[in-house]
């Protein structure tokens, strides 16, 4: 058997992943068709369900430049756009998604139409750039820059950043959610003025409920990954997260496809079918992967590495009961707030005062019984980086779980050293073997 065939067998991808991924990818085609038909399209950034449901309820098509950056990188098409952003005078230490998006937009503006070789059919000219204050302030500046190329308005939806212990004080949660609802009401008013359409509140109710249900199922799917062998690899997570996270694609279709995926993963878990043959090391991945070098996960799967969980920021929130919240805007805001704060009570109980970024790694390494971590700090993004060193320390010192740091960028392949990461991965295996013994000696469960 050839080496290539052996590699293909090492990772057992979910069958249900392919239609879900296709549903996500169709968003590009739909937006291009909608624009041709004179219907509005917006460019949005991930806002953790806070604002997109409102666009969807008003029949505004959405595409996501961040997702487009990942697609360009994965298809080997990003370099042209990165170079163009460089030529436009944007610094090379800026976020890869932003550079890719600016390069693409500069080219589209110059041509007067979508670049013919754009991956997935490209992103059409939007009527609106919808920014979010979630996690990363640089993203708003990125969209402001895009707005100048596209002559399109930029609207930023803000949200609180409850990353401190004081956010648990009485009343903070309620006030935060009220603030978010107010932000969303202002967005609705703005969109009504911009498009001349009225908000369809019944449709918003339905979309909000669908999204809450999508996230509940997506959460449950990921719970199955705690079993041995883990039935779903991070590659499948990343391929499918966008239907929940952005939410790209039709929500009714996404709901059905996530249910199909639930059935498949549940079946695999029951029948002990792993995502990687001969699961030897159960791994947690830190931050977004190098989209341009996803093959590394196949190479690591060859060595028995199964990535069983990844950064909390791209996961669904811990489920809570939304049934008593009658206002759809408040339901949406509550879900986003739950995503931001869902791990706080446990973190505080364990006296892990490390904000909302690093603690979930501890909880997940324990509950998913991870042997090690592979952390990918993004040299171009402090938000996605600054907590990883802390998480690495806490994993080693508290749980005796070692990890490897492989620096890089989500889009720019020049910043990632594939061969070096593989060489260090071998060393991490030796470390994982050692610490497995240490955990056993200290009475840990795994």
């Amino acid at each position: 058997m050839s080496e290539e065939k052996k590699k293909k067998k090492a990772m057992n991808r979910l069958k249900s992943m392919y239609p879900l991924r296709a549903n996500i990818d169709q968003a590009y085609e739909r937006s291009v068709e909608a624009t041709k038909a004179g219907k509005p399209t917006a460019w949005s950034m991930v806002n953790w369900w806070e604002a997109d449901p409102i666009l969807k309820a008003m029949d505004i098509e959405i595409v996501y430049p961040e997702n487009f950056g990942a697609v360009c990188a994965a298809m080997g098409k990003a370099q042209k756009y990165l170079d163009r952003a460089d030529a436009e005078g944007f610094p090379t230490h800026m976020c890869g998604y932003a550079r890719n998006g600016i390069g693409y937009t500069a080219e589209m503006t110059e041509l007067g139409h979508i670049p013919p070789d754009a991956p997935m059919g490209g992103m059409p000219k939007p009527i609106l750039l919808l920014a979010s204050g979630a996690l990363c302030d640089a993203r708003i500046k990125w969209f402001q820059s895009l707005g100048r190329y596209l002559d399109a308005p930029v609207w930023a939806v803000e949200l609180p950043h409850p990353g401190v212990e004081e956010s648990q004080l009485p009343g903070v949660r309620e006030k935060s959610i009220q603030f978010m609802v107010k932000e969303l009401k202002e967005l609705v008013s703005f969109l009504e003025r911009l498009t001349g359409r009225k908000m369809d509140w019944a449709k918003l109710e339905e979309i909000a409920d669908d999204l809450i249900e999508i996230n509940r199922i997506w959460y449950e799917i990921n719970e199955f990954r705690k079993v041995r062998p883990c039935p779903m690899h991070s590659r499948d997570f990343w391929s499918c997260m966008n239907a929940s996270l952005y939410p790209a694609g039709d929500t009714k279709v996404s709901l059905k496809l996530y249910r199909d995926m639930y059935d498949e993963v549940k079946d695999r878990a029951a029948n002990k079918i792993g995502a990687v043959e001969n699961e030897k090391y159960r791994m947690v991945f830190g931050e977004l992967p190098p989209w341009h070098a996803l093959k590394i996960f196949d190479d690591l799967a060859e060595r028995g590495w199964n990535f069983v969980v990844e950064s909390w920021a791209y996961h669904a929130p811990k489920p809570i009961d939304y049934s008593k919240i009658s206002d759809p805007l408040e339901r949406i805001a509550t879900q986003t707030y739950q995503w931001l704060t869902g791990y706080f009570p446990d973190a505080l109980k364990e006296k892990e005062y490390m904000g909302y970024f690093a603690y979930p790694y501890l909880e997940w390494a324990r509950t998913y019984q991870c042997d090690g971590g592979l952390f990918h700090p993004l040299l171009t993004c402090r938000t996605a980086t600054n907590h990883l060193v802390l998480a690495q320390d806490r994993l080693l010192n508290k749980l005796h779980v070692p990890s490897l740091v492989a620096e890089g960028d989500i889009v720019d392949l020049k910043l990632f050293d594939y061969a070096d990461t593989m060489r260090k991965a071998v060393v991490l295996e030796e470390m994982m073997d050692h610490y497995k013994q240490v955990r056993q000696e200290k009475g840990f469960e795994w």
């Binding site: 620096e407 060489r423 071998v426 060393v427 030796e430």
Partner: protein, 272 residues
């Protein structure tokens, strides 16, 4: 027991060691230049000639270092971190912490009692704390790199470098030269700056005794002394510190042969 060759194709120099029964029997070193493939071939030929043996006497060759992927006649590559660990423990079994100062990076490696790696840290994105910094300053002072260590021992007033950055450090060294500082004092200052950076790596990874120093940087007596002063204890330094990774590579290959591990075809990129 058959002969085994370990090769370390580094960014500055390439080293080979031939071992038999865990004991090195021949060493060889060449400047790496820019063509790793060519230097690996030349290193092999000259090593064999030096040892008076032919290629067929070598049961296995394993390569490590920056250019390991260019050793076409080697069946497999090994991580330089593992090679360093295996190489040092073959000489000093009691070592638990290794400071490995190479040309382009410095790494600190922690070992357990079995000699296995349990943690490591590398300052790979920055020349500070690596041999490259010494190269740069030697060039500024127009001295041979091998003289930097002995010269620095004659310093009585080391220059205090205000930066840990090799690029700014070069500018600072030029300024100190123009102010009349002696070469000895500048070199001693550079060694102290390097030692300071190295000590932070040691602190980060956690020190456990015994501690050894390897790599080309360990040939520099001034640097070794500065690191010892900074850390407050004596370091174990092997006789030929720049060959440690090549020795380790050979040890790994020898263990593989002893264990009857089937080796991949030459030219494959299997990482051991």
């Amino acid at each position: 027991m058959a002969l085994i060759m370990g090769m370390d194709i580094g960014s500055g120099t390439s080293k080979s060691v031939i071992v038999r029964d865990g004991k090195p029997v021949a060493y060889h070193l060449l400047p790496s230049g820019v063509d790793y493939r060519a230097v690996a071939q030349k290193l092999r030929e000259e090593s064999l000639a030096k040892a008076g043996i032919s290629a067929s006497d070598i049961a296995d060759t394993i390569a490590t270092g920056h250019g390991a992927g260019n050793v076409a006649f080697s069946g497999h590559q090994a991580s330089d971190i593992l090679c360093c660990a295996r190489g040092i423990t073959s000489i000093f079994p009691s070592v638990r912490t290794i400071i490995d100062v190479q040309r382009t990076f410095t790494q600190v490696i922690r070992l357990n009692a079995a000699g296995h790696v349990i943690n490591f840290i590398i300052n790979e994105k920055c020349a500070t704390g690596s041999g490259c910094f010494l190269d740069i300053i030697s060039h500024v002072l127009q001295i041979d790199l091998k003289d930097a260590g002995p010269l620095s021992l004659g310093s009585d007033n080391p220059v205090v470098f205000t930066t840990g950055c090799a690029v700014f450090g070069e500018s600072e060294a030029i300024s100190r030269v123009s102010e009349g500082a002696s070469r000895e004092d500048i070199l001693a200052g550079v060694h102290q700056a390097l030692a300071s950076k190295i000590s932070t790596l040691v602190e980060r990874v956690g020190l456990e005794m015994d501690c050894a120093m390897s790599g080309g940087g360990a040939l520099n007596v001034g640097l070794v002394e500065s690191v010892e002063k900074k850390l407050g204890f004596k370091l174990l330094v092997p006789e030929q510190p720049q060959f440690i990774n090549a020795i380790g590579a050979a040890m790994m290959a020898e263990n593989g042969v002893k264990a009857g591990v089937s080796l991949p075809e030459p030219g494959s990129t299997k990482i051991t």
